[in-house]
Amino acid sequence: MAHEGTHAAHHETSVWALPVGLSTFFLSLAAIAHFTWHLPFLAVLSGGVGLALLAIGIAGWANEYFSKGHDEGLGFQGIVWFVFAEVVIFGTIFAGFWMARVTHADVWVREWIPQGGMNLALVALLTLILWTSSFTIWKAEHSIEEGDLGGYRMWLLATMVLGTAFLVLHAWEWLHLWHKGFTISSNMYGTGFYMLTGVHASHVLVGVLMQLVLLINSGKALNKKTPARAASYYWHFVDLAWLLVAGTAYIVGSYGKF
């Protein structure tokens, strides 16, 4: 088992969970100050404190993790369970989207699909980018298993570049559609479209940030290979989810009026 051997009895502590926990309080407070109290100054202040605490907390946490102790390999299982939860999160929005698509099929096709339909060529490009990045992160994982630190860094960076390119192109696409009058509040197609793709893009962003943390700590990665495996697994999930998200948001959503 993981903890063989004897330790001297002392109290186990870590400074880093507390700032990360408190950061969520300040970030929530910022949202509340903005939405319900209408106090912009408090919102900016609280949001700034929250983001700073979050960044410091995660940096310290990662540094402590990579510098102390040994790799127990449990993190991978943790991510597997987390992905189950993610499937349900996506499921809730799919439920809303599909329910409206079925019950309002008529008005959906007649009125809700934006003029000229969806840009399916762009979707194909986005898919290509994301799935190439699944290959690059697999190469990164493979490199670190072999002990090839240079390859690990290069493939990780390549994945981040692809992930960022995906986000930029996607943002451009959103702006384009928004200006055509297809907004998040237009109707259930707009709501479902921006929520599905938006939640998915937020996952891509989290994945890229994970890779950034891995890249910063890559000097110590040879002793701790589990985070690379876990981040890779998470990234594959995000890429697979894209198939369903894009299929639903673009193809099922705009079917009948290409």
């Binding site: 004897t6 507390l18 929530s28 369970w81 987390f82 189950f84 939860a85 509040s185």
Partner: protein, 539 residues
């Protein structure tokens, strides 16, 4: 397992507590936070009962009444019935599987601090102008109304609680599956561990559904999305479906661990292995799986088609089978056992009694014909206060007494423990049994006022008296537990003579639990009391 003298885990400075990653300290922190909010929720319940003592509005405005109901519901569900298991799970799970800590100790600390942040936010809603009055369900379109209170608070509190639950659930599942000491097989795991495993799996699959629902609420309120707006293709029933897809399974998140506690205590105080232990494990998982297939029974009056109502009525009634198996097995465990009527045992038996009443009134509630008749009446309120209010709280209080010597190293007063329980049982039955009757007679729930029908007035007066007796009993029980941390006599390491692993180490446990990871022998079992006697003879 040699007893080495240690400074106990809890004698540590402020810095050690604040930055701790020790599962025992985090368990204590969960427990104290949970108890504080239990008391706030209890006080708001007393305020509700005072208002209902007589017809008409005496003490509160309707808005204040709505706020009191919301506070009572949200705090009792999330801070007591769910979060108290964060306390038991964190403290006991690593001890029972022979581990030094959970799989991800830092993440465990983060789970607590997320919970703490949510707690502070919840307290902020007491500020004037921020009262949440949308009930714990937060149904749209009502919750999107100005009068319902700030949605941002409600949604973000639920998000943070959800993140905390999710992190904690993943942590405990991975710990349970990968860090069991050699010799503790799945078959030999305590029923407590099986219950917590099932409960945490439910959390992992359920919490995201609620998070999705309140995210949609947040988006609808502040970004004008169309999720719950029928004029733009949305559907308010989507919220109800997602909400109950989590919030029905969550009643098993609350009650399965209580079943686990009951199983531990029944076995120890009957000195017998749980009758039908394998069937108990199947019953736990049966309840966990069926729990995801019954949510529509909360929506029988929402206009769902008949065939769906019938389908979900069947699955609901089906849950009675594994639950019934558990109750029969507990009763059969008593048969030919050498039963000791200690305070935790009496709490356990009371919990089973209350669960039986609550469970049996739940079966007819699963039948649409009856449910539609008593829908949104005090009958429903009485039903879930018997199962979740009382059976759960009695099991938790039983657990407090049972593991008290393990956690504090001292013994509580048996006499005051029993007095507290008797008062709780008198008060709660007077209160909730009459609530069934007034509910059957048509008293709707969530109303601050009722017509001055003489019989209703009498029933409400007696209920309020019962509620105050119940509160007094809780006060006695908690005072006994709190005062005994200073006044109680020193406890032995294993006062109940249980072979379960947490009792084989010193009380209170040393900071690292186990000097050496234990290798449990072939003939050991958490319920093998002869094994423990043989160990004593050898020593």
């Amino acid at each position: 397992m040699a007893a080495v003298s240690y400074r106990p885990y809890f004698s540590a400075g402020l810095k050690e507590w604040l930055f701790t990653t020790d599962h025992k300290k985090i368990g204590i922190m969960y427990g104290i936070t949970s108890l504080i909010f239990f008391l706030i929720a209890g006080l708001s319940a007393l305020a509700i009962r005072l208002e209902l003592y007589q017809p008409g509005l005496q003490y509160m405005s309707e808005d204040a009444y709505n706020q009191a109901l919301t506070v009572h519901g949200v705090l009792m569900q999330f801070w007591w019935a769910v979060a108290i298991w964060g306390s038991f799970g964190n403290y006991l799970l690593p001890l029972m599987i022979g581990a030094r800590d959970v799989a991800f100790p830092r993440l465990n600390a983060l789970s607590y601090w997320l919970f703490f942040a949510a707690s502070v936010l919840a307290l902020l809603t007491f500020l004037p102008g921020n009262h949440i009055r949308m009930m714990w369900t937060g149904y749209p379109p009502f919750s999107l109304n100005e009068n319902a209170g700030p949605v941002a608070f409600y949604a973000l509190i639920i998000h943070m609680l959800g993140a905390s639950s999710l992190a904690s659930a993943i942590n405990l599942v991975v710990t349970n599956l990968t860090m069991r000491a050699p010799g503790i097989t799945l078959r030999k795991m305590n029923l407590f561990l099986h219950a917590f495993l099932a409960m945490n799996v439910i959390q992992i699959l359920g919490v995201p559904a609620l998070a999705g629902a309140v995210t949609m609420l947040l988006m609808d309120k502040y970004f004008h999305t169309a999720f719950f707006d029928p004029t733009r293709g949305g559907d308010p029933l989507l919220y109800q479906n997602l909400f109950w897809f989590y919030s029905h399974p969550v009643v098993y998140v609350m009650i399965l661990p209580a079943f686990g506690l009951i199983s531990e205590m029944i076995a120890t105080f009957s000195r017998r292995e749980i009758f039908g232990r394998t069937s108990m494990i199947f019953a736990i998982w049966g309840i966990a799986i069926l729990g995801f297939m019954v949510w529509i029974h909360h929506m029988f009056t929402s206009g769902v088609p008949d065939w769906i109502r019938i389908l979900f009525s069947y699955t609901t009634v089906l849950i009675g089978v594994p639950t019934g198996i558990k109750i029969f097995n507990w009763v059969f465990t008593l048969y030919k056992g050498s039963v000791r009527f200690t305070t935790p045992m009496l709490y356990t038996l009371s919990a089973i009694f209350m669960f039986l009443i609550g469970g049996l009134t739940g079966i007819p509630l699963g039948l649409p014909a009856f449910d539609i008749a008593v829908h949104d009446s005090h009958f429903v309120v009485a039903h879930f206060h018997y199962v979740l209010g009382m059976a759960l709280t009695l099991a938790v209080f039983g657990g407090f007494h049972y593991w008290y010597p393990k956690i504090t190293g001292r013994m509580y007063s048996e006499l005051w423990g029993k007095i507290g329980l008797v008062i709780i049982m008198i008060g709660s039955n007077l209160f909730y049994f009459l609530q069934f009757i007034v509910g059957l007679e048509g008293m709707p729930r969530r109303y601050a006022d009722y017509p001055p029908i003489p019989e209703w007035v009498r029933l409400h007066e007696l209920q309020t008296i019962g509620a105050f007796i119940l509160a007094f009993g809780v006060f006695i029980a908690l005072a006994n537990l709190i005062l005994s941390t200073k006044l109680g006599p020193k406890a032995e390491d294993n006062p109940w003579q249980s072979p379960s692993l947490e009792w084989l180490i010193p009380s209170p446990p040393p900071p690292h639990n186990f000097d050496k990871i234990p290798h449990m022998p072939e003939d050991w079992d958490p319920y093998n009391y002869e094994w423990l006697e043989k160990q004593h003879k050898k020593a």
